[in-house]
């Protein structure tokens, strides 16, 4: 328990304590990450962006800004696995037998951990409320003082009115007027918590030494090539390509290239080159095609890339 708590604390503080390899959940053919610390860690350290696909509970009626979980491209998952930064966990296969047969000590520990998390959240909420209350009272006191300085005669009448007003504005919105607004009595009941992951109670499966790597499309060599050169990539469906390549974090830069991978001997239709070149130039990016040379004497990365620009625009 105590150990878990400490771990929890650490994970909240920062992503420095992420221990490689991290686990990637494979659910319904998607590679998902549920831990925000892992997400930031991979983004910061390994230039892996992924795509946030979860709705945000506070603003559910939009899909411009999305939250956890983070979906990784098969290429990204494969790259992480190959670099031994991550390993794949088939969530359904792992979760079902473990969770349904949870009993005894394990079960109790799991429920305890839930309760603990709920209490923690409760405490945090209460603290916030207290702070707001103190802030409101201070403000009220300040206005009263100012008013008192202005009109010293009529302070007897004003005080109760304004105090009532403030108390309304303070508590009216946040909780219903109850006869006993005592925080102590409520604090016993923890918040209901829905954990994003079930891993803490179910200790993770052992890291497999040699596992099946995620299947990837034929443009994977180009992806690894771009990644090895320090480019950040995001899926390029919006621009009709395989990847959009950014010179740094996509939050800081516009993308420079629309990258499309081809096989070395693959025939590229002329129309595709025209279309890609037009589109790339139209959005002020380079249309980049690349593929791995099949017979190459050079060591390591044998991907060659070409950039195409449409001249008449």
């Amino acid at each position: 328990m105590a150990k878990a708590d400490i771990e929890d604390e650490h994970r909240d503080v920062g992503s420095d304590t992420i221990t490689e390899p991290v686990s990637i959940s494979l659910i319904a053919g998607r590679y998902l990450l549920f831990d925000i610390n892992v997400v930031t860690y991979l983004r910061r350290t390994h230039n892996i962006c992924g795509v946030l696909i979860g709705g945000i509970p506070q603003i559910p009626q939009q899909n411009v800004f999305l939250g956890l979980p983070l979906e990784l491209l098969p290429e990204e998952a494969r790259l992480l696995v190959e670099k031994r930064v991550a390993y794949i966990v088939d969530d359904t296969a792992w979760h079902k037998p473990k969770f349904s047969t949870l009993s005894g000590e394990e079960r109790r520990r799991y429920l305890d951990s839930l309760r603990e998390a709920g209490l923690k959240s409760k405490r945090a909420a209460d603290e916030g409320a207290k702070k707001r209350q103190a802030h409101g009272l201070a403000k009220e006191a300040a206005t009263r003082r100012a008013k008192g300085a202005l009109k010293p005669d009529s302070d007897e009448k004003d005080i109760p009115d304004s105090a009532k007003e403030v108390s309304d504005s303070l508590f009216g919105d946040e909780r219903p007027q109850s006869p006993t607004p005592s925080t102590i009595s409520v604090s016993n009941k923890p918040h209901a918590i829905t954990p994003t992951t079930t891993y803490p109670p179910l200790s993770l499966p052992d890291i497999p030494t040699e596992e099946a790597k995620p299947p990837v499309p034929s443009s994977y060599p180009l992806f690894t090539h771009l990644h090895s050169r320090g480019y950040f990539t995001t899926p390029g469906l919006r621009f009709g390509c395989d990847y959009t390549a950014y010179p740094g974090d996509p939050l800081r830069f516009h993308s420079h290239f629309l990258a499309t991978g081809y096989g070395w001997e693959e025939e590229i239709p002329m129309l595709d080159i025209v279309g890609g070149g037009r589109l790339g130039t139209g959005v002020k990016k380079g249309f980049l095609i690349g593929g791995a040379e099949s017979e190459s004497s050079t060591e390591g990365d044998n991907v060659r890339t070409f950039c195409i620009e449409w001249g008449g625009m």
Binding site: V64, G236, L237, R238, F239, G240, C241, D242, T260, M270, L271, D272, V274, G275, G276, R278, L279, G282, G312
Partner: protein, 585 residues
């Protein structure tokens, strides 16, 4: 007032017009009327409409009856008495037209084909005449070029304005920083920022300052000067001490900064390709100055030049890289058509052309209406002589679909073999076109596959032509065809057509090999997005045309063309990019 302003401009030079400006001119047909008259026939076919019935004139009934009877008794052919003529050359994979009448007819009656040296309408001769100062006709290429020039000019103007705005802002900030650094006057209260004035003692801070002082590369010139990686910067800097390093880089940047950003295409072309070039140029100028020779070279930084050398605008300046050449022995004599380069006078009427077939860059600037070089001006005085001399170098090309449609579908074109000069029959042509349509051409004998690319493409072409659209090739927009409502001279293309073979017949999923074959024909979503975005960018609508591929038949190779084509079906799907955010009212 004037509906044709360009006519007025052209006539302004004529003294007769100036003498009598008040005389109301007979108003000619408007541009739309002219176009309608020129392109009145939508297809190269003759039609025989019945005369109009006039109720107040009973005799018109007789006229109608006569016209009707004439058509019934002795029907006239709807083809022109003399068919248009084209030649098919399997070696060039091309159908070409040489005869002037056929060229004009095919272009004006349905917009078939294109000039081999033009964008669409064969206008090479007009442009050539104009180039030599003998003609004045404004071709569509001229208009396009003008528009592009204007667009480019606008972009440079915008770049210049952005640059100016940045400079102004920087200056403002520099003044603000200076006022902060200056010792506080006793009357002013000390701002809290002044506790820690910017110091550059530490290496990192210095580096930061250096990076900050380099302007963002908004122009190609600046981009070329930037180091390729931080590593370059570091390696340069590791040699000397920290303070010196900073100073050095600061020096470098200050050395570069006076060069103005290029704001005209001329200047962009005059820019060096690398730092090395700059060094060479500067040195040559210095050498020239020290020798006191009357040599003038174009420089990449006009500001520097005007400071050091006085440029006489009327004097010819030759740009030769990297070796200086005296004026007398310039390329002007070498290739006879070299031209004056005036870097400083960025005049709108001057255009620059660079030819990059040789390692050295040879540039010319010429005024459109003027002959290429003043020496030759005398030769070109009388335009009539030139007109005789110009021979039309252009021929007219038809795509295979167009040629087949005109000869097989409409029957108004007779296609002859380029080798023998004998007419080709429809079935023979069908086979030959199918062979030529692929690259590299398949060798005969060729069994007809149901998804033969020529057959599919021709089907779609025929389909839209028979619905009355003007169909032209769409490779420039990465689609198969473009559909024009009446023709390219009337409006922009409305739709872009992509042909997709559809293998829905059960035959195509009967065996694993066939399934794999069909799967190999599938296109990706990203491809579709790409095409759709390209088409949306140019404000057209994408149509996916699915051609149902029938199952193969045994005797298909020997079947008549009609029977083969009858087995196919065509479905159309209009695709549009729709964003909920943007499309909301």
């Amino acid at each position: 007032m004037e509906n044709t302003p360009q006519v007025v401009i052209q006539d302004a030079g004529a003294p007769a017009e100036l003498a009598a400006p008040k005389q109301p001119k007979p108003r000619g047909p408007s541009k739309a009327q002219q176009l309608n008259k020129l392109y009145s026939l939508p297809a190269p076919l003759r039609t025989f409409p019945l005369p109009t019935f006039l109720p107040q004139n009973p005799l018109s009934l007789l006229h109608i009856a006569y016209a009707w009877a004439k058509q019934v008794i002795a029907p006239e052919s709807s083809h022109f008495p003399e068919l248009y003529e084209a030649f098919f050359s399997p070696d060039n994979r091309c159908v070409f037209v040489l005869e002037e009448r056929s060229v004009r007819g095919l272009w004006e009656q349905g917009f078939y084909g294109k000039g081999s040296l033009s964008r669409s309408e064969p206008s090479w001769l007009d442009r050539e005449k104009k180039r030599r100062g003998a003609g004045k006709a404004l071709t569509s290429e001229d208009i396009t070029r003008k528009r592009r020039e204007e667009r480019q000019q606008t972009k440079w103007e915008r770049a210049r304005k952005e640059r100016e705005a940045i400079d102004a802002k920087l200056q403002e900030e520099a003044i603000a920083a200076f006022s902060l650094q200056s010792p506080p006057s006793p009357t002013q209260p000390t701002p809290p920022m002044l506790d820690r004035p910017p110091t550059f003692s530490s290496w990192h801070e210095g580096l930061k300052y250096v990076y900050a002082s380099v302007a963002a590369p908004v122009t190609p010139e600046y981009l070329l000067k930037l180091p390729n990686s931080p590593c370059d910067v570091d390696s340069k800097l590791c040699v000397v001490g920290a303070e010196q390093r900073v100073e050095k880089i600061l020096l470098c940047t200050s050395k570069f900064s006076p060069a103005p950003a290029p704001v005209t295409p001329e200047r962009l072309l005059g820019l060096p390709n690398s730092l090395h070039d700059i060094g060479v140029k500067v040195i040559t100028v210095e050498a020239a100055l020290s020798n006191k020779e009357p040599l003038i070279y174009t420089l990449n930084f006009p500001a520097t030049v005007t400071k050091d050398v006085s440029i006489d605008d009327s004097e010819p300046v030759i740009d030769i890289d990297p070796l200086p050449t005296p004026l007398g022995t310039s390329m002007e004599e070498a290739n006879g058509a070299a031209e004056i380069v005036l870097n400083g006078t960025a005049n709108g009427t001057h255009r620059r052309k660079s030819v990059r077939f040789s390692p050295t860059v040879e540039e010319t600037t010429f005024i459109k209406s003027e002959p290429p070089s003043p020496e030759r001006a005398a030769q070109h005085e009388n335009a009539a002589e030139v007109e005789v001399a110009i021979q039309n170098q252009e021929h007219y090309q038809l795509t295979l679909e167009e040629a087949f449609f005109l000869s097989y579908g409409l029957g108004t074109l007779s296609i002859k073999s380029a080798a023998t000069g004998l007419p080709i029959s429809a079935s023979e042509m069908f086979t030959q076109f199918r062979t030529c349509y692929r690259f590299p051409p398949k060798q005969l004998p060729l069994t007809l596959e149901p998804d033969d690319p020529f057959v599919i493409s021709y089907l779609v072409y025929h389909h839209f032509r028979s619905l009355g659209w003007v169909v032209r090739g769409g490779i420039k927009f990465s689609v198969d065809f473009l559909l024009y409502l009446r023709g390219p001279v009337f409006s922009h293309a409305e739709f872009a057509v992509i042909i997709l073979p559809s293998y829905t017949d059960p035959h195509w999923s009967s065996t694993p090999e066939l399934c794999a074959y069909v799967a190999g024909k599938e296109r990706s979503w990203s491809w579709l997005h790409c095409v759709n975005r390209v088409i949306t960018q140019v404000q057209k609508t994408l149509i996916l045309v699915y051609v149902e591929i029938p199952k193969p038949q045994d005797d298909e190779t020997n079947m008549a063309v009609d029977k083969i084509l009858r087995r196919y079906k065509i479905r159309e799907i209009v695709l549009k990019r729709w964003l909920s955010n943007r499309s909301r009212d």
